[in-house]
Subunit: 351 residues, 2 copies
């Protein structure tokens, strides 16, 4: 990556923590959140790591987020819980929810924990991967933090890119980790194309007349397209209901555009499910079977021009290993933003 | 539908039961299966109802299915179970699994029941809708009964159309019911196009060189495409692992093509999840909130040329009401097949 100097995970984590503590987040919470935000960068989820920190800080300083949330369990069953995040940072709410789901699933076999009154929590795979480290399967759903898509055939933006992530542990190969928006392109890709002055391929967006929209500078005149047409619309709708409506969190017209409005409570909803592999199979044997899935897929013949079959989670794993060893690239533009942020907050800059 | 005479639900159910009983299925099982097969037709899932009966009968008569299965619970936790279907008809295995999941979820809040050694079970929505009738949310996944898709970029058909269905209860509007293959087109649509001598649109299939394949008569030379490219491949892979690998059921190269081979044990895998709404919200309020989702989506502006915004489950509901009142259309070609089947089995034909 040109113009991108590198930082270590540990330096990035410390910087995140300094910034959050300077805004009044208690040290233990700031360290937890800082770890998860830096983890997103190590994983290669560049649009969901420290890139978002200035936005989180802006929201905190606008009074749009609670620095000392008191998580409440609103409803509790042996295998389910509904958590009120008390408008805390999503990372803290969802780490808590995921730990609870894993604890329950160890006994019951599966657990489903929903959250309301949360906020943006970074990449979906961050939470789906937590159970996968302990011989469980993780599944995470969320209502996206801004609506970018109408129902199929419509023009009112009532839906978000509502993502799904599922993580499955393997033995010798990387974990299989699916982490995808239900739209063809995530909105971050549109923003990146705009920054770079590049055109978008047809199929990412259409305008209000249904024509392809390929100029990212005109993105406000159109909307994202779902994968598979009506099917992706259906997935976005269902995931949004499970993560939003069921939890009493925002959905549809109630979703606050967190880019445009840093002060209103977002009432973001998420769900984590943990499924204990031991309730179905010997975990070691299951992990070996996932290795066999890798081998089967990898050994498929290739279409002309394709040099390798990839599995979901493969790039994430490679990036994680590379960045853990050689550091995390921070593009010049982002570094400047983070320097300004440090100055604004009066904390030591990222070195 | 031209050349399609109609039958009542009750006549169709009786016919299904007669055929199954004539092959040695005990009466109570035959009646359950007959009901579910006819239900698929009432719902408008024409490719998954009585259309499949000749194939089931062929498998039964080839010794490829067990008429007196003894379902075993291989593993049991408060919120999970793994069932061995003993090579019984999938409808019976999955009705049993769904009832067990609902019973568990009433206490634990959520339950996840997997099955191995099952067979084709008809449409996914049949099972997802069972919890929805009792203030629960249903989610069903399955490994499809033949591989039609390679991993993304590949040429070896290692994956199926692995479907997902999710059903959410509403109050005054129809239940929201998503029921979709992870491929752009289900394989049944290719067969239908071939029967009608029609071309397929680009995007359904490609050939082994990666070029669009639009002639359904050449379908054996290519494969189905996943929705959203690599994303749909990821969904098919994940759903297949959850329904297949985790349950010790067939996946990848072990999947038996049930169209081509009527004698080998398929070891089909499925999963049903039941989520008790009362563990998260007042069910009546949740159902009213789903009504509000309907109203929001329906009131969106339309793209030019679109006359109405639809929600998943809308056509299913309308078809169910129409066919319950006016009967189920049976195309002439299918009626002839069913007449031949009746004669072969020595049972009274469908009237």
């Amino acid at each position: 990556m040109p113009n991108a100097s590198k930082v270590t995970f540990s330096d990035l984590r410390s910087f995140n923590a300094r910034c959050l503590m300077s805004c009044g987040m208690p040290q233990s919470d700031a360290e937890k959140a800082a770890q998860l935000i830096a983890q997103a960068d190590v994983m290669g989820q560049d649009g969901h790591g420290v890139f978002r920190l200035p936005m989180y800080i802006k929201r905190i300083r606008s009074g749009g987020m609670n620095m000392t949330p008191n998580f409440k369990v609103l409803s509790d069953r042996p295998a389910t819980a509904l958590i009120d995040g008390d408008n805390g940072l999503g990372h803290l709410v969802m780490q808590h929810a995921t730990e609870l789901a894993m604890e329950k699933a160890r006994t019951t076999g599966v657990a489903w924990v929903g959250a309301r009154h949360s906020n943006h929590a970074g990449p979906a795979s961050l939470y789906a991967m937590m159970p996968a480290r302990e011989n469980m399967i993780g599944l995470y759903l969320a209502v996206g933090s801004a609506n970018h898509m109408p129902p199929w055939g419509g023009t009112d933006m009532l839906l978000s890119t509502n993502p799904i992530s599922v993580a499955l542990p393997s033995q010798d190969f990387p974990h299989i980790v699916l982490d995808m928006a239900t739209t063809v392109a995530a909105y971050g890709k549109v923003k990146t194309a705009a920054q770079r002055g590049e055109q978008m391929p047809e199929g990412w967006m259409i305008d209000r007349n249904g024509n392809p929209l390929t100029d990212p500078a005109r993105s406000s005149e159109g909307f994202l397209l779902p994968i598979g047409g009506a099917k992706g619309y259906g997935l976005s709708l269902i995931f949004g209901i499970l993560a939003g409506v069921l939890n009493g969190a925002a959905f549809g017209k109630d979703v606050v555009d967190f880019n445009a409005d840093a002060a209103s409570v977002t009432n973001t909803g998420h769900v984590i499910m943990a499924l204990d592999i031991a309730a179905f199979a010997d975990p070691a044997e299951f992990r070996r079977n996932i290795d066999d899935v890798w081998r089967q897929m990898k050994s498929s013949g290739h279409l002309p021009g394709v040099d390798e079959i990839r599995l979901p989670g493969e790039r994430l794993d490679r990036t994680t290993r590379e960045r853990s060893e050689y550091g995390i690239p921070i593009p010049a533009q982002l570094r400047e933003k983070l320097s300004n942020l440090a100055e604004e907050l009066g904390v030591e800059p990222l070195t």
